[in-house]
């Protein structure tokens, strides 16, 4: 028994980063959105739209770049619509987010059944980068040196997001708009302009998170393929204290639970129903959120429309 467990560790570690990847893309995007004071709880729906778009575009063209570009485009459009309702119309952000989740689920389900039901629907996937020798290292070899390119992409995303947020005028504007929009207004920053941009960046990254599920992690679309990852990403933002680096590490923590769950299901000699393990990441979400007291790190103007 012990040796079985030890043998599983490299695979669990590798799966951890892989399972964390969609959370990282979505959560980093949401960090940027929330730092500007907008709460988009429609990550699940956005992710589904991204997942379907990537799948359909790669299916049609057999080109991964076209798939990613189409996903980005859909993400930006979703952001534009969300920002129109929450920033311009000043509708309740929770309600618009719920609507977005319902839209994502319904629209992708409808389109998938209409267009793809009964077809042999496997697509090309993002290639795995295998670094020879290093990937044979014990324990960490597979995790660090044998992953697909979108997983490595998170190593680029997190520093870039941190740089933008903390070292550029745009990032300073985002942070100030989320804390004290009126002060930002009085020095000539366009509060709605910044919020539109932050929302669209967030939804674009969230759509990419969805694409990961259909053209990297697997090679097909399934209805509801995100299975709650959009909601977990929201918890990741809180647990990561609204910073890109925090979101990265928090995502890895949740990734562990996803990876464990997968492995434990595959253990034939455990007499526990597999559903019990499937609950793990979601139960972890609840425990993590309960363990965080208050919202003292949240941007002060989060979810509050700005009245000029």
């Amino acid at each position: 028994m012990d040796t079985v467990w030890i043998a599983m560790i490299p695979a669990i570690l590798a799966a951890t980063w892989r399972m964390a990847t969609p959370l990282i893309y979505a959560a980093v995007g949401e960090v940027i959105t929330e730092r500007a004071g907008v709460l988009n709880i429609g990550l699940e729906g956005t992710m589904l739209l991204g997942a379907f778009t990537a799948f359909a575009a790669v299916y049609a063209t057999d080109n991964l770049w076209v798939g990613l570009l189409a996903t980005l485009l859909v993400g930006v459009v979703v952001g534009l619509v969300f920002a129109f309702f929450t920033v311009t119309v000043k509708a309740n952000q929770i309600i618009v987010g719920v609507a977005l989740n319902l839209l994502g689920l319904g629209l992708t389900g409808f389109l998938f059944r209409t267009l793809f039901l009964g077809t042999k629907n496997a697509v090309r996937t993002v290639p795995v980068l295998n670094i020879p020798v290093l990937s044979d290292l014990p324990v960490v070899g597979e995790m660090l040196f044998h992953q697909n390119l979108m997983v490595y992409g998170t190593l680029l995303l997190v520093p870039v997001a941190s740089f933008v947020l903390y070292k550029t005028a745009f990032g300073l504007a985002i942070r100030s708009v989320g804390e004290h929009p009126r002060a930002s207004d009085t020095v000539g920053i366009s509060v709605s302009g910044i919020r539109y941009a932050a929302v669209m960046i967030g939804t674009a990254l969230t759509a990419i998170a969805g694409a990961f599920l259909t053209i990297a992690h697997t090679n097909q679309f399934v209805e509801g393929i995100t299975s709650g990852r959009g909601f977990i990403a929201l918890a990741v933002v809180v647990f990561g204290r609204w910073s890109p680096k925090g979101a990265f590490w928090a995502s890895l923590l949740f990734g562990v639970f996803f990876a464990l769950q997968l492995r434990l299901q595959a253990m034939p000699d455990l007499a526990i129903p597999y559903q019990a393990f499937q609950v793990l990441p979601y139960a972890a979400t609840i425990v993590v959120l309960l363990s965080l007291r208050g919202r003292s790190h949240a941007p002060s103007a989060l979810a509050i429309p700005y009245e000029a």
Binding site: A169, L172, R175, D185, T186, V187, G188, S296
Partner: protein
Amino acid sequence: MSDDVILRMENMVKTFPGVVANAGINLEVRRGEIHCLLGENGAGKTVLMSTLYGLYHADAGSIIYKGQPVQIRSPKDAIRQRIGMVHQHFMLVPTLTVAENLILGQYRYWQRLSQMERAKAEIRRLGEEFGLRIDPDAVVGRLSVGEQQRVEILKALYHGIDLLILDEPTAVLTPQETSQLLGFLRELADKGLTIIFITHKLEEVMQVSDRVTVLRDGKDVATLNTAETSPRELARLMVGRDVLMEMPERQGEPGEVVLAVQDLCVENERGLRVVDGVSFEVREREIVGIAGVAGNGQSELALALAGLMPIHSGEVRLNGQVLREWTPRQVSQLGLAHVPEDRHGMAIILPFSVSNNFVIHSFGDEPFSRHGFLNFSRIREYAQRLVREYDVRLVSVDDPISSLSGGNQQKVVVARELNREPRLLLVNQPTRGIDIGATEFVRQRILAQRDRGSAVLLISTELEEIFHLSDRILVMYEGKIVGEVPPDRSLLDKIGLMMAGHRAEA
């Protein structure tokens, strides 16, 4: 227009739904002077200046600045015209550093913040030149209110200005900080900066300004040379009639102890101890005033006494009963009436009618309801009686209370609370944001309540109010009571020092 006039605003009109804030105001400001805009709350001072700064758009009127007619559509335009404004509520992002706040909005969005070192050097240079020394790397939210105000002024200077507008800058300062600020403004004016100073405090006008324009009900009433006027004349212009400035003497001696607080500690939601070991007593026929700069634990003390915030440790006795984890309703049944600081958030429900707001504690009791059904005619009669008694100006008690002015809303709250004939009256900032007439009325009623036999705990950041009403004054600083003084105006300096944290020498 003569050369020395820097700004002329002509016939400025600005209306909001249901309110005429500026009804044709004329203002002329000379280069290098300190010009006070004096008026009661709601006279239109802040709206006029916000229009000049581009936050509001005037319905009519023209602005001539440096001899040119100008259109100021946004604060960005104002900054470009070298106009700066220090707002009543600071326009600083508390989570950012001083330097970040100063450069905010100065860069194009795609630019890297590469010039931080140069910005910091510039901040230090300005600090040296004007004697406003502030660490550019300090996080604004951790600075004291006085320091934050210096950052605001520094921000305006950093942007480069010829005209500086200050909106009630002394409201949040201790007396010492106030005189420091006024002295500093005089220096700035001597260096050629023009300053417009919004205030409703007569002493400040007399102390700092060269000229003063008095506003009343959205119109300019007079522009005077400060040297040629008097506080009494200004008060009359501001209110439109003579103001009674004296309060009657107390009758009778304090009686039994009504409220006894022993080593009270209260923690806020972040776990910080905001009230730290406070002990005092309030007796019948006595007003105890708690002075202090806003944010030193007074608000939390009041909330804890009213049962709205948990008591962490210590003991509170009201009428001999120990309060511990009591609900506001239980506390109020023990004879506490509470006029809270946050009128809109706590005292009234804005969209509800005036009459419903009158029975907010008691709508479930006879005679206002029977068997769970409200008796509207009884409620209306009761409301009408109190409206007459307390001189609340309104059209109908069925109108939403949001349609009343701040002063009349406060009269409703005071009438409701005092009519319960409380054993202990807890009043927090009873006259904030209301006009002089209503202020006078509310204060008279508080005094009458004391003479009736109530114990009164008065919390106010307005020292003038504390001196006017209190029989004893306690000073709070960082959650502690740092001393007790009698209401003797010669002790003003001493109180000021205590408000800044200096303990009273025994």
